[in-house]
Symmetry: none
Subunit: 204 residues, 4 copies
DNA sequence: CATGAATGAGACTTCATTCAT
DNA sequence: TATGAATGAAGTCTCATTCAT
């Protein structure tokens, strides 16, 4: 399947460094066939991103809609993203490296979609602030950036390490992310709360 | 000056999308001259990155060496990076977009240098944990990722917005970053402490 | 019908600029079917041309065979060609633009057929010269070129204008063509003779 | 020289059938160099056409401006075009086959320029009609089409024959063209007038 | 130092044609 | 008949890099 091959090739070589024929080779087809299904190399990446990102937007919305403490909502989002990485690290690498951080190319193209994710997380924070569960003196958008930035930084580190990440580590990081964002670093800060395991992720 | 022109062009068009002649045009010289000073297009970006990154590594080391509470140390680092952005947003954009997040190309080349920065921040955290000022149940490397990830996320957002950032906003964000990382989001967490203004940044 | 679709597409986009799939789309069939009826894209144009051109050769021969004054014979030929344009301007456009003037491609392939037309017209002139009705000091082949060149120039102009031509204008041009070729431009030359309407054309 | 090579290649193979590398090979340079001077293959043909066509427009205007009988003016125009063919048949072939008759591609692009030529010839006719030297019952534009169509038909025939044309034949044709257009075919029509040799042509 | 003509590998993309269904 | 997935040769164009001047 061409999309699958594209994910592997984009992840391995990067969008700009790979050729369309690399994708075709990886898929075991003639490269003309790639153009039978996609109008251009860029369209392949667009398709990959949009398909998966929309699932994530839904996951964020679902997390927000749940009747759970904010810690749990954020945990659900982190869980979703990290599980997505666990199930298809190559796709997540492509999305992060080639899209969400590519300010001059695809990032600009998909800026609206990317901001939707930030906005969804910010909404979770805002609601928690209104309920008095999160302190009100932090800008909700800023908090969303902290949360998302941390998760993407973790993924970026794994991406650079290029080594498989164990389920155990994934679970530990989920807890750490939530605790970090909610409780902060300082000794006087709140202690971590027990967590519920997440049940869905980006690529089930 | 060719390096300055390269910064502007890389920032505006991206490394892969610009041509060597674009840099030469921006610098007002013939493109052959670029090869008088640099062996290749890649070498220009390498030079840009290495020159500036080393200054940052020094700034992190300096912050760690100071006898100040960890909050202040982290604030100094955040301050340095954010002031660097304020003084040369184009260079910071290039470094972030084209190097530190470019897992398949320059990011891999400069992985060692990039990790040094994480390590420096982690050292600050570790020391604070040993002193009992930061809780010990958080992995110091993880905390460093949270801190650095947040700062880079803020910069990435500004980069995408492509709008000038006011000194006031920069200062506000410095405080928010430290408070976010140290105090966390929850209502029971510690209140923000007063801050000291930073005195140096990446591009003085 | 595929030939009809091909005419429209060749006329609209040109032979080299259209794709076989454009023809299939226009015909409302899958493009594989085109190859069921024609061995190649070129063969479609060959077929279009040959089918129609042979009708014209017959028309020229018929005109010559008639017992009529040379003016009438030439008028019959002009009439045939111009009426052909009126009834299917797209087909005539394709024949002229893609074949009779395409010296490097189809024009060369069908050179023999094209010359037959010139020869037929020249024969009409020659006979008129032998009868003393046309002056003898003009090369018959040259006269045929003048005649045919004028008609094709008129059609080319209409083709470029891409506007429908009224029956009235067609009739006027028929008279003008004959008068121009037979009487010339000069004031002392012979006056136009009344004309008989033509009864057949290339595409009845 | 690249333009010269392009003329030869376009003439030999046709615009659509040749590759840019054929032009480069013919010119004895790397094909990248072609793109150093021209932005595209099309631009080469545009340049070829426009450079030469403007010379012809000037020649037509000059002929019209001269104080000579209309026969002489038309003879000057025919002379110019036919001499142009004699001096660079390949260029004239390219202009006629690939531009002035290419209704779907370059002909459309340069329609304005092409019509200027028709207009210039029509102006000569119109003036002669006003002077009473040409009969007034012929549309001047139509007469221009007859004249130009005849000349292009002669050139097209030579182009298809692909054989060198002798100076003698060229001269004979000049006289025949003028006589044909001015005197017509019929026996009662005016006799040919003696002609003056032309002194310039498209490619001196 | 400085120029820009020249090179040519390499990328994307097109599309006529084949063929299994 | 009819479809459209699949092929791959071929073509245009880009651009990093070299080098004579």
């Amino acid at each position: 399947m061409i999309l699958g091959a594209a994910v592997r090739v984009f992840a391995r070589q990067g969008f700009h460094t790979c050729r369309v024929s690399d994708i075709a080779d990886e898929a075991g087809v003639a490269y003309g066939l790639v153009y039978h299904y996609f109008p251009s190399k860029e369209a392949i990446l667009d398709t990959l991103f949009l398909e998966r990102w929309d699932v994530m937007l839904t996951a964020i919305a679902d997390a927000d809609a749940a009747s759970a403490p904010p810690r749990e909502k954020l945990r659900a989002v982190a869980s979703f993203i990290l599980d997505s990485y666990r199930h298809d690290p190559e796709l997540m690498k492509v999305i992060i490296v080639e899209v969400t951080r590519a300010a001059n190319t695809f990032g600009r193209t998909h800026l609206g979609k990317i901001r939707e994710a930030y906005g969804g997380i910010a909404r979770i924070v805002k609601r928690a602030q209104e309920d008095g569960q999160f302190r009100g003196d932090v800008d909700a958008s800023f908090a969303a950036q902290a949360f998302y930035g941390l998760v993407e930084q973790v993924l970026t580190t794994w991406i650079f390490e290029d080594a498989p990440v164990s389920p155990t580590e994934i679970e530990r990081v989920k807890a750490e992310v939530v605790q970090m964002i909610c409780g902060g670093l300082e000794a006087s800060a709140s202690a971590p709360a027990p967590s519920t395991p997440a049940t869905s992720h980006l690529l089930e």
